[in-house]
């Protein structure tokens, strides 16, 4: 089991209790009066059987409040996801914080910010590097790259899942598009692992047939679920954070009901990926303040009020196209807010240029950021040893020193963190050692990982099973005219 970081501080409350109640009541009102669109006759029939008001013609489901609240209660406050190597199992929930790898369509050049399609070798090396990173706990779907040279778009998700299973023994999230769940479930099971299942809303207030089919598939395979909304405030969600929180809540609570009706007690992690709109381009305003404010409200409601684990995505998608100051502050304000407000998981490592790009060097740098943030929420030890009252008396004024004391030796690392890839040299050292930047250190670490890291190998036969399943996927898509 991966330890993650254990929150030992009171989580931030950006909302008053009255505001939380008001948002929850507003959400119930939207679910009961307006409902949510589910583009699946099978889902509609299931909802109808469970006392929802279903409009089959318009694919609309209206949810009675008692059912929503009953399903919130059925959802466990923590749950296990089994990795193909037990040491990488995850237990989401409670006070634990994990970090998830980010993703991007293409590989970004760290010097110019320009992007290009990654090769399969680059894809696999990026997975291997993530497998080695100490603070990276699991992968999302189609990671690290959404596009890989020589892989047809419809085969990308199953191929990406196969490569993650081969080059890492950490948990992965499954994908939902174009029936990929069929193959991803089989490959994970062939390797003795679970995936974090996936069903994402299309805002406002809708679920596509692809997403719903994937939801049924993953839940019926007894996989725990990752649910996501994804509104753009001012476009597909209200522009106000309170309104967007209600709209997002309605989408996610509809998914909670959906899964608790399929498999009562199934573990669920709710993701927040709600962005303000960039009012010049119309695209999501990645890296912006509104995201972290939304995350703070979201985490308070879901982890503290509903007791359902959360993931936050904003930190993994900075707007900056470069490895620069903007990228650093965009990631940090989002991730730090997530951690302090109670998130159980933060998507962070490797994202550059919003969702457009990924780079393993950035993942290596982000691993230090993850450690700093994780260490922050573990709080401060205050006990007789750490207060050091007797030692303060012993050392006294100048020329007293604490440097040669056992307390220093014992605790200096715990009380701080030494980054793997930061420039921590004095100015003269920096000059004489080649003026290296954090990126230079990350490059050295990347080379070391690629030269030395070996992922937990697949057991005999598992590799062949993966190949067989990929062949079946290829035939399936060919028969459907998608290849």
């Amino acid at each position: 089991m991966r330890r993650g970081y254990i929150r030992n501080i009171e989580p931030l409350k950006i909302l008053t209790d009255t505001q939380v109640e008001a948002i929850h009541r507003g959400t119930l009102d939207v679910l009961e009066e307006t409902g949510v669109r589910f583009e699946s006759q099978r889902a509609l029939r299931m909802f109808k059987k469970n006392e929802c008001i279903v409009d089959f013609e318009n694919n609309r489901v209206r949810f009675p409040s008692y059912l929503v609240e009953e399903c919130i209660r059925r959802t466990p406050s923590s749950f296990l996801v089994k990795a193909r190597d037990l040491k990488n199992n995850l237990r989401f929930g409670g006070n634990t914080l994990y970090f998830m790898c980010s993703a991007g369509a293409r590989i970004s050049d760290p010097e110019t910010g320009e992007t290009r399609v990654a090769t399969m070798k680059e894809n696999n090396e990026a997975i291997l590097i993530s497998d080695a990173l100490e603070n990276l706990d699991y992968f999302p779907s189609y990671t690290p790259y959404f596009e890989v040279e020589g892989v047809e778009p419809v085969m990308l998700c199953p191929t990406s899942c196969a490569m993650r299973l081969r080059y890492s023994s950490k948990v992965s999230r499954g994908a939902q598009s174009a029936d990929t769940y069929i193959w991803e479930i089989q490959m994970a099971q062939a390797c003795g692992a679970q995936l974090l299942g996936n069903m994402e809303a299309a805002s406002p207030l809708s679920y596509s047939e692809d997403a719903i089919n994937a939801g049924f598939g993953y839940a019926e395979a007894f996989f725990p679920m990752y649910i996501a909304g994804g509104g753009v405030m001012g476009g597909t969600a209200p522009v106000t954070i309170a309104g967007a929180t209600i709209s997002n809540n309605a989408e996610l609570l509809a998914a909670v009901v959906f899964f608790q009706l399929i498999k009562p007690g199934v573990g669920i992690i709710a993701n927040d990926i709600e962005y303000p709109m960039n009012m010049r381009s119309g695209s999501p305003a990645f890296g912006s303040l509104g995201i972290s404010l939304h995350e703070a409200a979201f985490n308070q409601i879901w982890t503290q009020f509903y007791r359902i684990p959360t993931n936050n995505c904003a930190a993994g998608f900075p707007n900056s196209k470069l490895f620069d100051l903007q990228s650093g502050y965009e990631k940090t304000h989002c991730a730090m807010t997530s951690a302090y407000s109670g998130a159980n998981s933060i998507l962070l490592h490797g994202g550059v240029s919003a969702e457009l790009a990924y780079n393993p060097l950035m993942a290596i740098l982000d691993d230090d950021l993850a450690a700093i943030i994780g260490r922050h929420i573990e709080g401060i030890v205050v006990d007789s040893e750490s207060m050091a009252i007797e030692l303060i008396k012993e050392v006294g004024p100048i020329p007293g020193t604490y440097l040669d004391k056992l307390l220093t030796k014992k605790h200096w690392k715990r009380e701080n963190y030494v980054p793997n890839c930061a420039d921590t040299l004095t100015y003269p050292e920096w000059i004489t050692s080649g003026k290296k930047s954090a990126i230079d250190y990350a490059r050295e670490r990347m080379e070391e990982i690629l030269a030395t890291h070996e992922p937990t190998p697949l057991a005999a036969g598992q590799d062949k099973d993966i190949d067989r399943i990929l062949k079946e996927a290829r035939k399936y898509y060919k028969d459907k005219g998608m290849l």
Partner: protein, 215 residues
């Protein structure tokens, strides 16, 4: 003779175990271990700590605590060496201290520890050391190197005064002078007439070796 004690002396440094250092040093004498070998075992330990520090694998608390082990164990061993009329071999003598007006000791201590671990005899005058004390120590110990530390821009110029005093006493050519500390750079070292400057403690050892023609 229990040669395991030599290994224990070596390990007591690596383990930063200053609490057992004195007892172990006394035990080695009681059991008839050659004190030169005991000194070498301690030096081997501090050398490894120094190398680890220079490589970035170890940190200041390791260096300082290892130095503390030496400060406790070595005087016991050295007294025995003297009693037996034996002599230790060193690469040279270094007088080191932080200049008058400045009470910062960490950088100076790092350099002293690393020089010691490189087989130099180090005479550490401490902090807030007056010029006359530096000059007297250079004369008394006939030192090969005078190493001066200053962390403040205001005290850096005190190094210049000490060099002037050595010149006025006709001693400047008898000792190589190195300077260090946060406000220093090569240009400043040249301007005050020092023989060398090193930006880091490990590089200070390299500098001393170079000035004495040893590497």
């Amino acid at each position: 003779m229990d040669s395991g004690i030599l290994d224990d002396l070596y390990r007591v440094v690596l383990d930063l175990n200053f609490e057992d250092a004195e007892d172990l040093a006394k035990k080695s004498i009681k059991e008839g271990i050659d004190p030169l070998q005991s000194a070498e075992a301690l030096t081997k330990g501090i050398r490894e700590i120094g190398e680890g520090f220079a490589k970035g694998d170890l940190f200041l608390p390791d260096l300082v605590l290892a130095s503390k082990v030496l400060q406790i164990a070595l005087p016991v061993i050295q007294a025995e060496i003297k009693r037996q009329g034996k002599k230790t071999h060193t690469r040279g003598k270094v007088v080191i201290g932080t200049v008058f007006g400045d009470i910062h000791s960490i950088g100076k201590q790092m350099v002293a520890t690393l020089l010691f671990s490189s087989s130099y005899e180090v005479i550490d005058l401490g902090v807030n050391v007056k010029s006359s004390v530096f000059v007297e120590a250079v004369k008394k110990y006939n030192s090969d190197i005078l190493a001066m530390s200053a962390l403040l821009t205001t005290t850096a110029y005190e190094q210049k005064n000490i060099i002037k005093d050595l010149i006025s006493k006709g001693m400047r050519d008898k000792v190589k002078i190195i300077v260090g500390g946060a406000p220093m750079n090569q240009e400043f070292a040249d301007s005050i007439g020092a023989d060398g400057y090193a930006p880091t403690a490990p590089l200070a050892v390299t500098l001393v070796n170079k000035l004495l023609g040893l590497d």
